[in-house]
Structures are given as C-alpha cells and as structure tokens.
Subunit: 337 residues, 2 copies
Amino acid sequence: MRVTIAEVARRARVSKTTVSRVLNNKADVDAATAIRVREVIAATGYIPSAGAVGLARGVTRTVGMLVPGLTWPWMGEVLQGVADVVESKGYGLLLSTTNRGTDSLGEFSRQVSAKAFDGLLLVEPPDAVRHLRVLHDSGLPVVVIDDRGRRPAFPSVGTDNRQGGAAAARHLLETGRTRLATVTGPHDFGCTADRLNGFNEVVLDAGLTLDPRLIIEGDFTSESGEAAILQLLETGPEFDAVFAHNDLTAAGVLAGLRKAGRTVPEDVAVAGFDDIPLASHTQPPLTTIRQPLRQMGETAAGLLLDRLAGAPAPDAPLIVPTSLVVRESTRRRVSRP
Amino acid sequence: MRVTIAEVARRARVSKTTVSRVLNNKADVDAATAIRVREVIAATGYIPSAGAVGLARGVTRTVGMLVPGLTWPWMGEVLQGVADVVESKGYGLLLSTTNRGTDSLGEFSRQVSAKAFDGLLLVEPPDAVRHLRVLHDSGLPVVVIDDRGRRPAFPSVGTDNRQGGAAAARHLLETGRTRLATVTGPHDFGCTADRLNGFNEVVLDAGLTLDPRLIIEGDFTSESGEAAILQLLETGPEFDAVFAHNDLTAAGVLAGLRKAGRTVPEDVAVAGFDDIPLASHTQPPLTTIRQPLRQMGETAAGLLLDRLAGAPAPDAPLIVPTSLVVRESTRRRVSRP
DNA sequence: CTGAAAGCGCTTACAG
DNA sequence: CTGAAAGCGCTTACAG
C-alpha cells in the first residue's frame, strides 16, 4: 500500500498541513515537530505523489520535447544535453516524435492541452509551426532547437552557420586549394544559405570567386553527396576541394570520389559539417565543422527552465559557435616539384 | 483560462458525472444528451487534465524509460521503436538517463515512487539491478531491453546472439576463410559468450578449430579493435578473417589493418555486429550481423503495454532474430591460380 | 438515464 | 507555530 501524506500526518501526530510544510521547507515550523515529521517520512519512505502535487499546484515539473525522429545521427547528442540539465533540475522529460505524422501531432497536442507538461522543447518542427504559434500564444513556454536556421518566432538556440561556412572556406584555402566545390543542403533551409554565404565571403576576401557550376544542391543524405560528385566529375569544371553541408553528404562525396578513382586528400580535399560519430570513421577520416549539439541541447533546456522560473524570453536566438575539426580528408598536399 | 469538466457540464446543462460518462464512452447515456455534451466539448476544445484523470484513476498513461546514455550509436533505433508503439497507444514516454550516476538514479527512484508512470522500460541497467528488484517486487511492471545477454530476472527482450555468432562464422567460411580471428566484447557480458559460442560451434561443425591465440577481448570501442589487430599482427599467428563483436570494434579493426598495410577484403575479411549507421560508411563497407534494434524497442514497449493491460509476464525472454547483412568487407577473394 | 457526493493526494489561504 | 477546510479537476460507487 502506498503511503500518503495523511498516513505520515497520522503517524507524526500532526496535520497534513504541517507535513506539507516540512515537505516544502516552509519556515514557521517548530524544530522539534519538523524533526519528528522527517523521521516518519524517512521511516516510511514517503514520496509525495507527483500527480497530486501537480494538480494542487498547477505545475507538473515536466517538460515536453518534440522531435522529428530519434534515429537522426545528431539527435542523440542533443537529447543527452537536454536530459542532463532537465534531470539535474529535477524535471521530467516527456518525449514525443512527429514521425507518425498527423497522428503524432494530434496526440501531442492532446498532451499539451492536457497540461501534461510545463514547457516545451522543439527540434525543428516540420510543418507544425502554426500549431506551435497557438501553443506559444496560449502561454506555454516554448524553446526551439533550430538546426535549419529558420530563425523562428519563438525563443531558440542555433549554431553559427555563417561562421561555420567561413571556417570551412578558410581552412580549405589554407591547405592550398583554390577550386572549391560545394554540395549544399536543401535551398529552402536557412542554414544552407548561411553556410554558403559565410563560405563565399571568405573566398571573395581571398580574391577568388566561387564557380556557380561547382555549387550543387543536395538534401543532406549521403546519396545526394555521391550523386553530386559524380555529376560534377562528369560535366563540371575541375575542382580540388569539396565543402559538403553535412557529414552524411560528405560521406557520399568520399564514396563518389573513390568510385571515380580520385584520391582524398591528394586529388580533392573534403570537409563536412556536424561532426557526427561517423565523421571520424570514414576513410579518410573527415575534416568537419563541429556543431556543439550537446551544448545546444543544454542551452535550450536551460533557457526553457529559466523561463519556467519566470525569466523573460530572450529577444534574439541564442547562438553557440561551431569549431573546426581537422582530420585526414583535408590534409595539405605534399608540394610537387 | 483553461476549460474544465465543470465548465463543460455547466454549458451542457448536465452534471460533471454525465460529462465524464460521455468522455469515457460509457453506455447508459441518452443519445441526445451525449450529442449535446459532445458539441460543447468540441466548441470549447475541452481536453481532460491528464493530472486530474491520473489522480482520480490511479494511473498516468505514461511509461518511464531508463537508459544508460542517449549518445550510444544504437540507442536511437531502440528509442524510436519504443516511441512508435508507446505513442500509438496514447501513452506518454518519460525519459531518464543514468549517466549522472547516483544522482540520476536517485532522481529516477523518486519519479518511480512518485508514481509518475505506470510501467518501466529499462535498457541494460548498469548497477541499478537491486533498485530494480525492489521496484519490480513492489508491483511496477518492468521490461528490460537487454543488449548484454544477462538474461535478467525480469521480463525482457533480447536478440539471438548465439545465432548471430553462428551466422557470422558460416558466412566467413563460405567466403573461403579458414583462419578466423575474433575481437570479443567484455568477457563478463552474456552476449560475448553467446556470440563466441555460436561462432565456435559452426567452426567446429566445419571440421576446423578456433585458435585461442586469435581470440582477443575488446571492450566494444573502436580503439580496442584497432589495438587488438595491431597486437595480433605483431605477435599472433596468421589469420584471414576477423569477427568483431560489434561494429565500432570492427571499424577499429579496419583502421588497424589499414595501418598495417593489409587490404580488406583481399587479405583479411572483417565482419561486425549491430549494423549501426556507421557500418555502411566504413571503407570498405562493413558486413555485419544486424540487430533488429527498432524491433526490439517495439517488442519491449508492446510487452510492457500488454502487461499494463493485464497480460501475464512471459516466462522467458523474448528473442528477436538477427540477420546477416553482407557488404564489401567480406567479399570473396578472386581465386588465385 | 442522471446527479450529488465522496474520494484521489496534495497545497494554500484563513483563522487561531 | 498549527490545523480545518476548501480546492485542484477528474472518476466512481451509490441512490434515484
């Protein structure tokens, strides 16, 4: 039989009110009384029912998190970052996915409306945006983890895609490459434009230009990377480096180059974006722009918890910086005579 | 302002009892009344408060899931499988990790005791086993997803490690290899023994024997795979195939062989276990024994939900079969004259 | 077929 | 410093 506050009160010969007071560390409880109550609590192993507390207090100490899918290569890191801070603050994490489509969103909306959680963490909502506006406007604190650079209307945390693109260009130029190709992400993603712009800017600064024929749109899959390279090799101008807008694409680029008999990094240098686990295991290991995924998760969760604690929403997206991770795929060529 | 059952009752000119009845599709409600109530519900967008329902009914329609870490390469698939069935049944998924050690476990135990969920899904509890016994004995339905082959005392779902090991051996022998090396998982994991035994059995059946000097213990990291191979190459007898007990280890094996100048699959064939996303992107792509991770998650969640619905606990672990995924790393050698 | 009332396990004014 | 009572938003015997 579960022990309740009434049982504790009975055993400690006080009212439920008093037990509640010591439970919540309110002042104005006689020291001796408090000790007695604490002893009973310890002896019975009493833990307040989360549901009852939530109902009485109007909060759940739970945050919801809605993600498009759990199998994406970078999702684990984000989740871990979120879980770390959420748990350390004593909150629960209620996870939902959108990948059953409308069904999931319906179910999810129910949970929201059922007040199953106090705040909401969102990863890159696919087409749920209008649902979200409603939620947000109805007072539910929302923070989005934005890997697409959409700069949403809600508080969000993202990464510096422009700076990342610039770092990639700088690095490729430093290793002596001059004919730079790019396989981008989908053109309607904000991050694609940002990465491309940062990249382009550095190239221009170096007195070079980006050949438009060397910019191919991909879709963030390795298949698209391989296809892009094969196409480039067949019909495009020569190039000595490829910047892929994510690591999966870069892996496809490596595969394509290998099939075509080009060596990396001797013939062509390849750089990716993300630094997913795969990146260090490709052949050759992949130079990439690291997204601080875990830190993004931590930051987002921290921001949400702050808002639940009453902090105002920040007026601009929180941006965590990328960093360059150099591996074999961009090693400087041995200079030829 | 949130709309409550009282508000719906007032507008529909019935009692809360009646509203509750139509909400829960009980019989014995006048058709016209029911329609009227439903209209009010639709008009107000009323959704019952999950907390209040839970308190009144004594259940939360939420399952907890405790995982050692979210960044493990195969965790995403398992989570996705779990989330799919849990969500499709209208349950919530409350996620916790153990990776803050004792803290997390304490927090988690609180949630359990606070009755924050109806049942519990466990991934390979590190040292939480005795906590678990207590929970389970106290009536909380528990299902463990077992990737270590410990054959726990609770209902569990696992994979057929023995059969997987056998399939690996069979495949390597079929490609003409005869001197088989193995880099195992930690020796105290049940899956290590099972994979090894299945492997060994097939080898014996083929009239060959496993050279004990060609069996090295690893720890499931790529570093351990690379180290094992380098050691074998330096001090061990010759070998023409390696079975690594997981894909990460196999990736290390590939790296070690490459450093030593051995080619795969020409000089040495390599097979892994798991089929994590990495496996198809190594060079050469890795033949591996696929663990049906997502299916394991689905099965475990289904089992738990069945138990919540009153089904008895199965008396034996549920075992989902592995399958062989053939890629380049074990391609048959072109026969030499 | 329907409703008043008690109860789920807490918290929180309010009164003393 | 302490407790009785109302309330959080539901469900469920029970009575009609």
